[in-house]
C-alpha cells in the first residue's frame, strides 16, 4: 500500500510528460490508480469482516518513533474506499470537464498528489505521519482552489483557506505533541487503548484544544466555516471531491479516530455538541441566503459536517453509528450534486439558480440524476439519506434532557436542508425554459457517468442499507465500541424519528414555497451579522499580522549587512552568555606546552585580522583576510585535519576568484561609520571573541558526557566502511545534516542568480 501511494506521487510527477504523449486521456489513465486501490481494498474486506486489522509495517525514522505503518481497520477502510472510489469517478468527470484546458496537466498533478495524501492521512498509524499528510492535503487544496490563478478572487480564497487550515494545522501539531506525551506513544492504535490515562492527564485540556482547533478548521466548523464557501471558486471536480466528499471530512475522521482516546469527557461532549450544533444551524440558514448553486451546496456541506461533529460529541454507540451512515450518505449525494452543478455550469454558463428553468427537456439525463441525489439530501425514503436521518434522530432521542435541544436544532436543520434539496432539484429543471448565457446541448457521457453512478448508489444503498451493517459494526468495534450487530433498515416503522422527519418535511415545504421572499429577508436581515462575522475578524487579524511583519522588517531587515551582523552577534552573545553564566563548569587551561610554531601561526592570524580592520584600500584588506584564512588552514594541518585544511584552502582560492569578478564593480572603499559606531563594533567584536574563548575553555573543563568522536572512531570502519571519518560522518552518519546543507547551498546559489540576473535583465531591457 505504501508503494501504491509512492507510485501515485511518482505518477503525479510524470503527468506533464504523459499529457504530452496522450493528451486529455491522461485523466482516464490516471483513474486506473485509484481504481486499483479500490479493488485491492475490496479484496481485503473478507479479512476485515472476520475481525482482523490489516497492519502494513514500514519503518521511516525509527530513532524518532516515526514510521510509515499503515493500519487498515473499519474506519480507515471506509474512508479509503470513499477516497479511491469517488476519486475514480471524479477523474473520469475531469476528463470531460477540463477537456482542452491548457492547465489540465497542472490540475492533475496536484489532484493526484492530493488523493495520495488523503489516503495516507486515513491509513497512517503514526501521529507525525498523519500530520505530514494532513498538511499535504491543506497545501494541495490551496493549489487547487487557486487553480484559476489569474482571477484575484480565486487567489484570495485560496490564501484564506490555507491560512485557516494551516493555522489550525499548527494547533494540531501542538496538540499531537502533547497527546503523545500524555499517552506516551505516537501510535494511534496504542493511544486508543490509553483513553483513561489521557483523560486524567494534566495536559488533557490543552491537548484537546489543540487537536480540536485542527479538526474544526479542516472540517469547516463554526467559527472557521467561512473558508469552505469561498473555496467554491475552485473547479467543480475539486469542490465535489475535496470540499465535500473527502478533505473536509478529515477533521471528522480525526475526531472519530481519537474518540476512544479523547472522547467521553464532559468537555468533549460540551464542545463538540455546541460547535457541531451551531455549525449545523449556521450552515442550514446560510444555505438559503444563496442563489449560487455551488454556494448553496457548500453551506449545506457545512451543515452536514456540523451534524457529524454533533453526533461524535454525543458519543454513544448509536450516535457514532449514525455519524458513519451520515458520512457515507453525504459523500454519495453531495458528490453527485456538485458534479451536477458542474454540468449545469458548463451547459448554461451560469450557476445562478434563479436564472435557470425548464432544463429537464434539454438535459434529460442530468435532471433525474439531480432529483435522485436531492431526494437523498432531503432525507426522504427510499434513499440512504433517509436512513441516515432516522439514525440521527434515533441517536438523539436516546440521550437525556439535552437531547431535546439537539433534536429541535436537528429537526430545524433537516427541514431547511429539505428546502435546499427541493430548490436544487426543482428550480433549474422545471417550469418554462429560461434563457441562459450559453445554450445547453447534449451532455457528454464522461460528465454524466460520475454523478449518475453516485446517485444510483444513494438509491441502491437506501433500499438495502443492510449492506453496511457489517461495516458499521466493525468500525464501531475498532473505535472501542464492540457490541451486537448494527441493523440498518430502509423503513424504520412509525415512531419518534418518523414524526420528527415529518415535522422537518412540513417545515421544508413551507420554506421552499416561500423561498423567494424568505431569501430577500435573510439577505437583508442577516447582513449586519455577516458583516461582523468570523470572516471579518479573520481578515482583520491577517491585516494586523502583516502590519507587525512590516514593522519588524523595517527594524531588523534594513538592508545594511553591518546591522544584521551586530544584531545576530548580540543575540547570540545574550543567549550563549546567559547559558554559560547559569551553568558553567570549571574553566580549564590547556595543559600541553605551546610549541613555538603554533604561537607563530596564532600571531599571523591575529595580525591578519587586525590589518584587515585598519587597511585603507580594499585590495589590501582582502589580502589581509586571505592571510588569515591561510593561517587557519595551517592550524588544521597542525592538528591533523587534512580534509578541513584542503577545504579551507580551496574556499580561500575561490573567494579570490569571486572577488576578482566583483572588485571593479564595488563602490569606492570609503569609511561609512562614525568613530562612535566603530567603537561599538569593537566592543561587540571583543565580547564575541572573549565569549568564544571562554566557551572553548568551559567545554574543555567539563566532559560530563562521553565524547561522540569515540563512537565515530570505533564505528567508522565497521559500519561506514570508510577510513576517512570526516567523509563517513558527512555522507553516512550525518547524511541528513549534509542534505540540509546542500539544500541551503542550492538556495543560496538560486538567490545569487535571481538577484544578479533579474537586475541584469531589467538593466538590459531598460
Amino acid at each position: 500500500m505504501q508503494l501504491a501511494l509512492l507510485t501515485g506521487f511518482v505518477m503525479a510527477a510524470l503527468v506533464p510528460l504523459l499529457h504530452r504523449w496522450i493528451g486529455a486521456r491522461t485523466a482516464l489513465l490516471l483513474a486506473a490508480l485509484p481504481a486499483a486501490i479500490f479493488i485491492w481494498l475490496m479484496t481485503q474486506w473478507s479479512a476485515l469482516a472476520a475481525g482482523e486489522v490489516l497492519v502494513l509495517e514500514q519503518a521511516w525514522v525509527p530513532a524518532l518513533d516515526v514510521n510509515l505503518t499503515f493500519r487498515v481497520d473499519g474506519l480507515a477502510w471506509l474512508f479509503a474506499m470513499l477516497i479511491s472510489g469517488i476519486g475514480v469517478l471524479v477523474l473520469v468527470y475531469t476528463a470531460g470537464y477540463l477537456r482542452g484546458h491548457v492547465d489540465l496537466p497542472r490540475f492533475l498533478v496536484v489532484f493526484i498528489a492530493f488523493m495520495m495524501s488523503m489516503l495516507g492521512l486515513v491509513l497512517a498509524d503514526n501521529l507525525v505521519t498523519l500530520f505530514v499528510f494532513w498538511e499535504l492535503t491543506s497545501i494541495t487544496s490551496y493549489l487547487l482552489i487557486g487553480f484559476r490563478h489569474t482571477d484575484p478572487l480565486a487567489r484570495q480564497s485560496a490564501l484564506q483557506s490555507l491560512m485557516v487550515t494551516a493555522g489550525g494545522g499548527l494547533a494540531l501539531l501542538a496538540g499531537f505533541v502533547l497527546l503523545a506525551q500524555a499517552g506516551d506513544s505516537w501510535s494511534l492504535a496504542e493511544l486508543a487503548t490509553r483513553g483513561e490515562a489521557i483523560r486524567d492527564h494534566a495536559l488533557y485540556l490543552p491537548l484537546l484544544v489543540g487537536v480540536l482547533i485542527g479538526a474544526f478548521t479542516k472540517s469547516a466548523q463554526f467559527p472557521f466555516h467561512f473558508w469552505l464557501p469561498n473555496a467554491m471558486v475552485a473547479p467543480t471536480p475539486v469542490s465535489a471531491y475535496l470540499h465535500s466528499a473527502t478533505m473536509v471530512k478529515a477533521g471528522i475522521y480525526l475526531m472519530a479516530r481519537l474518540h476512544p482516546a479523547l472522547g467521553g469527557s464532559a468537555t468533549w461532549t460540551l464542545v463538540l455538541g455546541l460547535v457541531g450544533g451551531m455549525t449545523m444551524l449556521v450552515g442550514a440558514v446560510m444555505a438559503l441566503r444563496q442563489t449560487n448553486l455551488k454556494l448553496m451546496l457548500a453551506y449545506s456541506t457545512v451543515m452536514a459536517l456540523g451534524t457529524m461533529t454533533l453526533l461524535l460529541g454525543v458519543g454513544t454507540r448509536a450516535a457514532v453509528a449514525a455519524c458513519l451512515v451520515f458520512l457515507l450518505a453525504h459523500a454519495l449525494y453531495k458528490g453527485a450534486l456538485f458534479l451536477v452543478a458542474g454540468i449545469l455550469d458548463v451547459m448554461t454558463g451560469t450557476l445562478d439558480i434563479t436564472t435557470m428553468g425548464g432544463l429537464r427537456r434539454v438535459l434529460p439525463w442530468t435532471a433525474p440524476t439531480a432529483a435522485v441525489a436531492a431526494l437523498s439530501l432531503a432525507g426522504l425514503p427510499p434513499m440512504l439519506g433517509f436512513v441516515a436521518k432516522e439514525a440521527l434522530f434515533d441517536a438523539l432521542l436516546e440521550i437525556g434532557p439535552w437531547g431535546w435541544v439537539a433534536l429541535v436544532a436537528a429537526t430545524t436543520a433537516a427541514g431547511l436542508t429539505l428546502a435546499v434539496a427541493a430548490i436544487v432539484a426543482i428550480r433549474p429543471f422545471f417550469g418554462p425554459l429560461r434563457d441562459t448565457p450559453r445554450r445547453p446541448r447534449g451532455t457528454p457521457p464522461a460528465l454524466l457517468v460520475g454523478p449518475a453512478l453516485l446517485a444510483a448508489l444513494s438509491l441502491l444503498t437506501g433500499v438495502a442499507p443492510g449492506l453496511f451493517d457489517e461495516l458499521v459494526t466493525i468500525t464501531l468495534a475498532g473505535l472501542g465500541m464492540p457490541g451486537e450487530r448494527v441493523h440498518l433498515v430502509p423503513w424504520h416503522g412509525f415512531g419518534g424519528p418518523l414524526a420528527l422527519s415529518f415535522a422537518g418535511l412540513v417545515l421544508g415545504l413551507l420554506v421552499f414555497r416561500a423561498w423567494d421572499r424568505l431569501r430577500d429577508g435573510l439577505v437583508v436581515g442577516l447582513e449586519p451579522l455577516v458583516a461582523r462575522g468570523p470572516e471579518v475578524w479573520h481578515s482583520a487579524m491577517g491585516w494586523r499580522t502583516l502590519q507587525l511583519a512590516a514593522w519588524q522588517t523595517r527594524v531588523l531587515q534594513n538592508g545594511h549587512i553591518r546591522t544584521y551582523l551586530v544584531t545576530t552577534l548580540l543575540a547570540w552573545l545574550a543567549l550563549v552568555g546567559h547559558a554559560l553564566v547559569v551553568r558553567h563548569g570549571a574553566l580549564s587551561w590547556p595543559v600541553s606546552a605551546w610549541q613555538a610554531h603554533e604561537v607563530m601561526v596564532a600571531g599571523l592570524m591575529a595580525a591578519g585580522a587586525m590589518t584587515a580592520c585598519v587597511m585603507r584600500s580594499r585590495l589590501a584588506a582582502v589580502a589581509a583576510l586571505g592571510s588569515m584564512g591561510f593561517s587557519i588552514a595551517l592550524t588544521f594541518v597542525l592538528f591533523s585535519a587534512p580534509d578541513l585544511a584542503i577545504t579551507q584552502l580551496l574556499v580561500e582560492t575561490l573567494t579570490v576568484v569571486l572577488l576578482a569578478l566583483v572588485l571593479f564593480r564595488l563602490p569606492h572603499f570609503t569609511v561609512l561609520s562614525s568613530p562612535l559606531e566603530r567603537l561599538r563594533d569593537l566592543g561587540v567584536a571583543v565580547l564575541v571573541g572573549g565569549l568564544i574563548t571562554t566557551l572553548m575553555l568551559a567545554v574543555l573543563g567539563s566532559e560530563r558526557l562521553p565524547r561522540i568522536s569515540d563512537y565515530m572512531v570505533a564505528n567508522g570502519q565497521p559500519l561506514g566502511h570508510g577510513h576517512n571519518l570526516v567523509n563517513v560522518i558527512l555522507v553516512d552518519f550525518r547524511a541528513l545534516d549534509t542534505l540540509g546543507e546542500v539544500i541551503v547551498l542550492a538556495l543560496a546559489a538560486s538567490g545569487v542568480y535571481a538577484m544578479l540576473c533579474f537586475r541584469a535583465e531589467e538593466a538590459g531591457h531598460g
Partner: protein, 143 residues
C-alpha cells in the same frame, strides 16, 4: 577583464582543466578512505572551470560544460534524495547506507551516490554564482 588574451593563461587553462577534473574525480572517489570527498572535489572542479572561464570567456566555458550550471544543482539534489530510496526499499530506516558489489568487483554504495550529489551541487552552485557575475558584467559592458 573576463576574457584574457594572455597566451600562456589560455594554453594553461586548456591543459589544466582536464587534469583538474580528473583530479576532482580522484578526490571524490578516494574521499571515503583518504582526504577528499564530494565537497572538496566539487571545489576543485569549480576552480578548474573558473580558470577556463577567465582564459576563454563565458561562451567557451558553456560550450565545454554543455549543461546549465543550475541544472547541475537540481541533478545533485535529486541524486542526494534518490540515494535515500534503496534503504526504504529494504525496509530500513531513512538514510541507512546500502553497500553493493557490482560485477568485476566494483563497489557501489548509497554514500557514494550521495557524495556525487554533493559534488554536483557544490560545482553547480559555484558556477551559477560565477557565471551570473560574469553575465552582468557583459550586460553593463557589452564589448
Amino acid at each position: 577583464m573576463v576574457k584574457s588574451s594572455t597566451l600562456i593563461l589560455g594554453v594553461a587553462a586548456q591543459l589544466l582543466l582536464p587534469l583538474q577534473l580528473l583530479f576532482s574525480v580522484f578526490l571524490l572517489l578516494r574521499g571515503h578512505d583518504a582526504p577528499g570527498g564530494g565537497f572538496i572535489a566539487g571545489l576543485v572542479a569549480a576552480g578548474g572551470f573558473a580558470l577556463y572561464l577567465f582564459a576563454h570567456g563565458r561562451r567557451a566555458m558553456a560550450a565545454i560544460l554543455k549543461v546549465a550550471p543550475r541544472d547541475l544543482i537540481g541533478a545533485g539534489l535529486l541524486l542526494g534524495l534518490l540515494s535515500v530510496v534503496p534503504a526504504w526499499w529494504q525496509d530500513e530506516a531513512f538514510f541507512t547506507a546500502q553497500w553493493w558489489t557490482l560485477p568485476f568487483g566494483i563497489p557501489l554504495s548509497t554514500p557514494l551516490l550521495f557524495d556525487l550529489g554533493v559534488y554536483l551541487v557544490v560545482l553547480g552552485a559555484l558556477l551559477t554564482a560565477i557565471t551570473a557575475l560574469v553575465e552582468i558584467d557583459q550586460v553593463d559592458n557589452p564589448h
